[in-house]
């Protein structure tokens, strides 16, 4: 019989070109090589062309006067390119955050309207959604800009609500609530309050679990924070002393030698890779040892190791500047924080109110009256983009909210009623948590879209990051560098939003259990 001899043989290795695992990895490495080669080739080609055209890819424009003035923002006459881009970023973020906040409220309202029992309300929601989401956002922005541009001039007394709300072809002006001198000290008090509040919350929850009586943990926690807030409102200048330690941290960071940072980064990369490999082995370990590691697994391990080695090479040799940049950034960050607690540039101690408010004012500048700096002024560009982006995104959010509630409603409602929950309890404990969990990921997506869509502001000349970047790039002849900054900024925004959404998603999954 042939069988016994066969059955005692070890697994034979096939020739390399027929080994499924080898072929698989060879193919992948080949494609990886192709992609890297193409990137290298294109960038080399671009480098040559840029040299030929006298354009450089450096970032030195960040510290050079770009010679432009911006239509609005925290600084309309920026003295460096970096400052100009920073103003653009702040403008984009302002638009995005205000937009996200308002669009959510509007979207939820319209979404609920579409589920209403009332025919007119339902139809109203339908028409709203079907009209606005099917017209390009850019066209809507242009329409709003044309509409606002057709309004009358600013005048001293033609409000609609004089002194509180002004609308004209210069945009909209409303009362403004703003952060004043003492805010950061006050924020420290609030932070301490939050920590204490959290402790109280846990204590009250514990008591509820033990005794079963209603202990209102959330109410207690809120009260604690409120008390801290009120006390802090008056005693906040006390925290001015934080200036010194923050300054010290900043100096300490500044004193780190570059090589130490490089080594630290490399160590982190190696540590990560080593931990991954260790976990990988641990995962594959069985009572019978690690004999089961096949070629595929070995390729993964090797890849992780090579990745770490490449990262070290990158930090140490390829781009040593990264380390000094990181050091400077950290140092600057703490410097900025320290400044917030120290004296103002004018030399006054920061003992004003944490938050202040002002009403719009109209000032006579030259021949025509214009909005003064006191109110919260939305320029025509900001208003056009803001209104259209809120209305447009609101229509998408409405659909998401409606879908989320519809997805939960039926069986769950019945089950909750069968348990004898009151309607408010049912909404709070059953429907909303589940609907919220369904709604959250697409909602995060919409927030992301809204943030990206603010870039259309360029069409109406609002100084957002893209518009500023375009101008700066043209002025200084460094479009590539500006593009890199765009990418970094928007990717950071995307990442932030996904991290926040994921955080809540994970929390909600625990709630669900």
């Amino acid at each position: 019989m042939a069988a016994p001899s066969l059955s005692t043989t070890q697994q034979q290795r096939p020739p390399l070109y027929r080994d499924a695992v080898v072929v698989k990895w060879a193919l992948q490495l080949f494609i990886l090589f192709l992609v890297l080669f193409a990137m290298w080739f294109l960038s080399k080609e671009a480098g040559d062309n840029l040299k030929a055209k006298g354009i450089s890819t450096s970032f030195d424009f960040l510290s050079i006067d770009p010679g432009i003035s911006l239509s609005e923002g925290i600084d309309t006459e920026p003295d460096t390119g970096g400052r100009a881009l920073w103003v653009g970023m702040v403008n984009t973020l302002r638009l995005a955050i205000a937009g996200i906040f308002t669009a959510t409220i509007l979207g939820v309202a319209i979404g609920l309207a579409r589920l209403s029992d009332n025919w007119i309300v339902r139809k109203f929601g339908n028409v709203y959604v079907e009209t606005l989401r099917n017209i390009p956002l850019l066209v809507q922005i242009l329409i709003w800009a044309a509409l606002l541009g057709g309004l009358g001039r600013v005048a001293l007394d033609n409000g609609p609500i004089n002194g509180w709300l002004h609308i004209s072809n210069k945009g909209v002006s409303i009362p403004r609530v703003f952060i004043a001198d003492g805010f950061y000290q006050w924020a420290v008090v609030l932070l301490i309050g939050a920590v204490v509040g959290r402790w109280v919350f846990k204590q009250r929850t514990l008591k509820k679990d033990q005794t079963g009586e209603d202990t209102f943990p959330l109410g207690y926690a809120a009260a604690v924070v409120l008390v801290f807030g009120i006390i802090g409102w008056f005693i906040h200048p006390v925290f001015g002393f934080l200036n010194a330690p923050l300054q010290a941290i900043s100096d300490a960071f500044g004193a780190i030698p570059e090589i130490a940072m490089q080594l630290a980064l490399s160590a982190v990369a190696i540590l990560f890779s080593a931990r991954w490999i260790r976990n990988f082995f641990a995962e594959r370990r069985t009572p019978a040892g690690t004999a089961r590691l096949d070629d595929d697994d070995w390729f993964r391990v090797i890849f992780a190791a090579v990745g770490a080695a490449f990262a070290c090479f990158f930090f140490l040799a390829l781009w040593p500047g990264l380390s000094s940049w990181l050091i400077n950034s950290f140092s600057d960050l703490f410097q900025v924080l320290a400044d917030k607690f120290g004296d103002t540039p004018e030399g006054n101690a920061r003992n004003g109110w944490p938050v202040d408010a002002k009403r719009p004012d109209i000032v006579q500048a030259g021949n025509f009256p214009n909005y003064g700096p006191a109110g919260l002024n939305m320029t025509l560009g900001f208003a056009a983009v803001f209104f259209s982006i809120v209305l447009y995104t609101g229509s998408f959010i409405a659909e998401i909210v409606r879908g989320g509630i519809l997805a939960v409603a039926k069986g769950q409602t019945e089950a909750a009623q069968a348990l004898g929950l009151r309607r408010s309890q049912m909404l709070r404990k059953v429907i909303l948590p589940q609907a919220f969990r369904i709604v959250l990921p697409p909602l995060g997506n919409q927030y992301l879209n809204l943030t990206k869509n603010t870039s259309l502001a360029i069409a109406v000349g609002f100084s957002d990051l893209v518009q500023v970047g375009q101008t700066v790039g043209n002025q200084t002849g460094k479009p590539l560098s500006v593009f890199a900054i765009w990418m970094a900024f928007y990717l950071a925004c995307s990442l932030t939003i996904s991290v926040v959404v994921n955080f809540f998603n994970v929390r909600l999954k625990i709630v669900e259990r």
């Binding site: 990886l32 390009p136 850019l138 890849f303 925004c493």
Partner: protein, 613 residues
Amino acid sequence: MAAVENFVVNTDEGLLPQADALPPELPSLPPGEWMKKNLFSSPFSTILTFVFGAMALAAINVLVDFIFSDERNWTAPATNLRLLMTQAYPADQYIRVWVSVGLVAVLTGLSTGLWNAGDALSMKRISMWFMTGGSFVALVALLAPFDSGRRTTWLILAAVVVGIGLAIWFGLGERRRSIFVRSIYVVFGVLGAIIGSLWVVKYGNYALADGELVADPDALVAPTTRIPWTILLAILVGTYFIGRGLAGKVAALLKAIVMGAWLLAPFIIVWVILRDPDLDWDHVISTDIPMALAFGFGGGLILYALTKPGLGEIGKIVAGVLLAVAAFNWVAAFFGWYPMLQKARLSFLFLAIFALAAANFAGDRRTRLQLVWGWLGFMAVVHYMATMANTASTLEIQGDFFLGGLSLTLFIAVLTLMLSFPLGVLLALGRTSRMPIFRVLSTVYIETIRGVPLITILFFFSVIIPIFLPSGMGLSETAAIVIGYTLFSAAYLAENVRGGLQAVRRGQFEAADALGLTGSQRTGFIVLPQALRVSIPPLVGQAIATYKETSLVSIVGGFDLTRIADKVISAQTDFLGVKMENLLIISFIYWVGAFSMSKYSQKLERRLGVGER
């Protein structure tokens, strides 16, 4: 599984298309009870009714006031309609535009007929449409700033429309529920009414002739407009019935041909019909045709040899060598090592791809010839299109591209979708692949692109790509935009397709493996067809987004619909600063396209049962 059944399109003649499975119609309430239930069910609801009713009336009032106000200059978009549609396309060549639209009409008619598209509509619904429509017209007439004569005309019109609705309602009695009409006939009816009105109603004749403004508001629409539209409608209806007639006979073959025609149509329309290439026949006969023949038959011979059964690894090696040669041709082109016609490079590349697939066609003579015939047909199309696209156009137009306005918008949207689809599928496959490097590469690409606004990508491609290109290679603005937009859109399409791929159950992969299908066969025959079917609704959603976002082209310098409405018309001396009217008109144009696509997608979703679970 049930979803699949619904895909079986019934081709029986004379059979009405099935209405979507709606719940049995509830007996309608008498008006009083209906209002009580839907408007005044509780005190809160009553308040809502009045508040929202007032808001709705106010909104309609503002809109109607705005539209019919004397300050509005509707002459601006009316005069510039041609500009909005095709920008500066020469008027004496306009027949080409009509032929292009006609081609689309033929294909639309044939497709709707062959696939027996549309629903069945009950007479009850149609009658209710008439009544609602008429009431709305009456409302507009009452709210609009009309003089009494105009208001009376509008009210009479409203009364007639409502009257038709009432006549159907009461004339048919209870039969109104059981008599059905094909929705496609209703569409034809509406189109017929609109186009018929061009012959009767005095919309006015507006035009810009040699820079002179022609505005005759009391005239009929120009014959150059109403005659073509009438012919187009006739073509549409005619081809629909031809399609219906042929549906039962040679349906499978015809459907394949029509689908192929749809794929080819955009290219033929843009590069052959609209561009009107100025063919140099000497060159065609001396170079183009011999080259096509050489590639066709030479390649055919190679493919026939490669499909010999039992060739084994030799076939793969030959295909690999061909691929290397094809790739080398492009690299050489980059460095300018040796000259070669772009067509030849393309043909080499396609030959390599066909050779890679050849192993699948190994078998008897017939299977082998199938591949060869496919190759010959493909080469014919590629060489024909390449020749046409490479020949200079006879059109004399200043500017970068001969399309503009709506035609440019559609061109970019369609081309982007067609090009980004295969790329998106590849990326989705990469992202769900079991091979880690592919997965990482695809994921990084997709997430990076999705994290960045479209406008920055368009800037990158229109401003920065020329820097990347080696000297001597140029790229037109429109081409740069389409490439950038394609790369952008592919990342989003990939995410939609990935959703579908994840919906394919593991058992399907295992069954394919157990049958011995290779990886590519498994993907092509089993996984992708199922995944794509599931991802149709989100894909349509993506198509809508792509269509709407073509408007961004206007920011980077493309003369699309938005730019012409916003910047070009408002800069004409006759219409200085007139923007709102144009923007409203193009909003409506965008809206019609996006809304009908989204309705279609909702219908598909209902049919696929994706929404319910």
